[in-house]
Symmetry: C2
């Protein structure tokens, strides 16, 4: 059964203005609102609830892999932040700084944390003394502040919510394994609940995190052809450990520096969900991350028996552990249909007098607009199956788009054409930063990553013509 | 079976120095550490995990009562904060203020939120327009900053973690009901998981929240005789709504101001748990808030079969949904006993070669130091029963202490004697703030609350001798 969805006039079509479409959804699906401070957004209940689902998934995975949550101060003394030189030079331009406390000037102004490496390191120096204390596997859920000039809801904020893992290890190998293990957890988040295929890879030296030896990322491809860095994990070696005097006594009684990692994802993921899955009628949420998975809408609800039947079906769905909302407000069914389409609720269960007579309900699927009639007794089982199939269809659709937008390029013309088309230009690279800089200068695209699949398909760098053995993905990015 | 616990020498006895005993536990049970910024503590994994248990309990109750989580900016423009006059004058002395962003001076300096009423109100003015939008029931989990001069871990911090609920209602009655409903949820938190009996009551005008019409609190009594304000709920009337221009169209088409509440508890509750239940061997955690409810300690673990048996029993306990830790490290059993006593883990399960032979384990209870032998097959069931009885015993013990420390006083001598003894001096009060001020001046005690049980027991105010009809509890307080 097909159901041609009615265009929601409140949203700018993607074809007309993709950026405006995005902002319209953020606002009209009530995910966020602006505050009076630029770049500091209000996470409204519906947007925050998506973050809670992500938190719920990740927090469980973090704990299963032995990590513990902590909370560090939200401010960093300037003197402390300056202790690791690469790190401070990377973050200094975007620091928000407190200079007054209780109406007195502060001797050592406090920076609102843009990231917490130095705070963790200061603590680690106090609590790590023996190999018995390692590994130390900490994570923190918090907000961070980066005083950005150009901000967009969820994608780039002066303040955003995230988690930051910070771990210390006895051996380099163990720390490197951790860096990749956490990247896999992020990748699985995409596969299992966001329905987003990520591309995993290593960052070039130019693009890596300030102070890290190596940065890995998951990148997602947006429908406008731009990449979105969606999560990163970093291997630090013992650089911070040295700067902060963190030493442990090894199994042989000698002193060593531990090996460090950090890793994080943020509310930027909400932006990825909006762009990857949304359509011109609004948000489309994958079922396993949707705060409301099913909405029950009574039709002709003033007719006797409709509301009780709707309540009964909603209760049955809720009792099965499904996140369900029953809307028995006095708005019209048409208003409700449009509202919950805008909000991207995966399934709508409609129940009216004729359905009740027949002992059925109608289930409408948000992601493809189709409907089906289901016997009352089969509703819960059918919904669970639909969640699986909808998730898979949404993931596969995004994966097809991704695969259609990875173009192997062998020269600068092909590179330009690939970037013009949108998506990744996959090229061989000599490894010289000058070539990377030149591409950015000419095209505004950046090296997104050296993907884990490094099968060469050519042997020269299209920029300088020298021998090239590295596979790299370039794209314009958020 | 009695087990005289060995004194843990790392902790100052309460009799010697109660304040030092408290700090020792905070540090040595690894609940927190100091950072380099005064009053900004590090919530270490074990301390943070207690907060997570509290969050888990409350978040569920908040959602069951229709509240939704949001996240507001962590900063407030000075101009915005000044809009409600009582409010700003209450908080101005303890504000931490950002004056520089990205190396430029800010025109309108940003205050790190000490509380978020004004942020919620600014948002409410945009999203509330009709009675259909009400009630608006929001909550936020976050940290707040108050630039305090005298700080103590958990009890008074320059930064602390809390939740702040902010709600808007159509009628005064509904808002007042909300204020009391949330107070009951806090009270139940004490009854159900903290094992702390709170005293509920209304604050005097002198002690109420800056900008509120009425403040209610839950007060807990500490073993040093001082009261600890452990949570508050506020009824604001429409004062903020007026200052922020929040109006809604009522059912009759006319414009009205909504009625507002806010309410919060913080990580201060961890301080209450430490003091109410702790002893000279360390922390004593009530079972339902303990991050680790049971620790399994193998005895003579090098003997064959001990570790496998310990793992089996730990798995059985874990599979029953109980939070269990198995310590099979190479530390001595004695070290482990002392360590987990310090950390206040409610139950220790010991298993050694002789236990294995007999098919039993020994269960030691932290709160009273007794032990019992239990058949392997009965362990899970017995643990569950013990949780119930331990919780009840801990609650009852705290309640007896509380009841023993409420002294009815009829004159100033009795008031002084009651405060000297410690606990609450329960007195009749004329309602005049001058009398309240005088008691504070003479005794340093403050009016903790007008308890909900207002049965008069006298008819004159002991300070001024005038007619008195209000029952009030005075105490020294944290």
């Amino acid at each position: 059964m097909e159901n041609k969805q009615i265009k929601n006039e409140a949203i700018t079509p993607r074809e007309v203005d993709f950026a405006q479409w995005y902002t319209d959804i953020c606002k009209k699906a009530e995910l966020m609102d602006y505050s009076s401070v630029k770049g500091f957004i209000i996470y409204r209940p519906y947007g925050y609830a998506i973050w809670e689902e992500i938190q719920h998934y990740l927090d469980k995975k973090f704990k299963e892999t032995g990590h513990q949550n902590v909370y560090m101060p939200s401010v960093i003394p300037t003197s402390l932040f300056q202790r690791e030189k690469d790190h401070i030079s990377g973050f200094a331009p975007e620091c928000l700084i407190c200079t007054k406390g209780g109406q007195e000037d502060l001797d050592d102004p406090l920076i609102i944390r843009p990231t917490s490496e130095v705070l963790f390191c200061e603590h680690y120096a106090k609590v790590i003394s023996s190999y018995r204390d390692l590994p130390m596997l900490y994570n923190q859920w918090c907000s961070v502040v980066r005083w950005e000039k150009t901000t967009r809801p969820f994608l780039r904020g002066a303040e955003f919510l995230w988690q930051e893992g910070h771990t210390m290890h006895e051996s380099e190998e163990e720390a490197r394994t951790e860096t990749l293990r956490m990247l896999d957890i992020y990748d699985n988040l995409g596969k299992e609940i966001l329905a987003i295929p990520f591309t995993k890879g290593r960052k070039t030296d130019k693009e890596k995190f300030a102070g890290a030896l190596e940065t890995y990322s998951i990148e997602a491809l947006m429908p406008d052809g731009k990449a979105l860095q969606s999560g990163t994990t970093h291997y630090f070696g013992d650089g911070f450990a040295g700067a902060f005097g963190i030493k442990y006594q090894g199994r042989d009684g000698k002193l060593y520096s531990p090996h460090q990692t950090s890793w994080g994802v943020s509310t930027r993921l909400i932006g990825a969900i909006i762009m990857v899955h949304g359509d011109d009628n609004g948000l489309v949420l994958p079922p396993f991350v949707a705060p409301i998975q099913v909405v029950v809408v009574p039709v002709a609800q003033n007719k006797p028996g409709v509301i009780p039947a709707a309540r009964e079906i909603a209760k049955k769905i809720q009792d099965a552990g499904i996140r369900v909302k029953l809307d028995e407000s006095d708005r019209s069914a048409g208003w409700k249909f449009s509202e919950y389409e805008m909000k991207g609720i995966p399934l709508r269960v409609e129940i009216g007098p004729r359905d009740i007579e027949k002992g059925v309900v109608t289930i409408a699927k948000r992601h493809d607009g189709t409907k089906e009639v289901v016997n009352n007794d089969d509703v819960v089982e059918r919904i669970k199956l639909l969640f699986e199939s909808i998730h898979k269809e949404m993931y596969d659709k995004a994966l097809r788009y991704l695969l259609d937008h990875v173009t192997e390029v062998h020269n600068m013309d092909e590179l330009n054409a690939a970037l013009e088309k949108g998506g990744y230009a996959k090229m061989m690279w000599c490894g010289d930063q000058a070539c990377e800089d030149k591409i950015k200068e000419l095209t505004n695209a950046t090296a997104r990553c050296l993907p884990f699949n490094q099968t060469p398909f050519d042997d020269v760098c299209p920029v300088c013509g020298k021998k090239a053995s590295k596979v790299v993905l370039f794209a314009k990015a958020y």
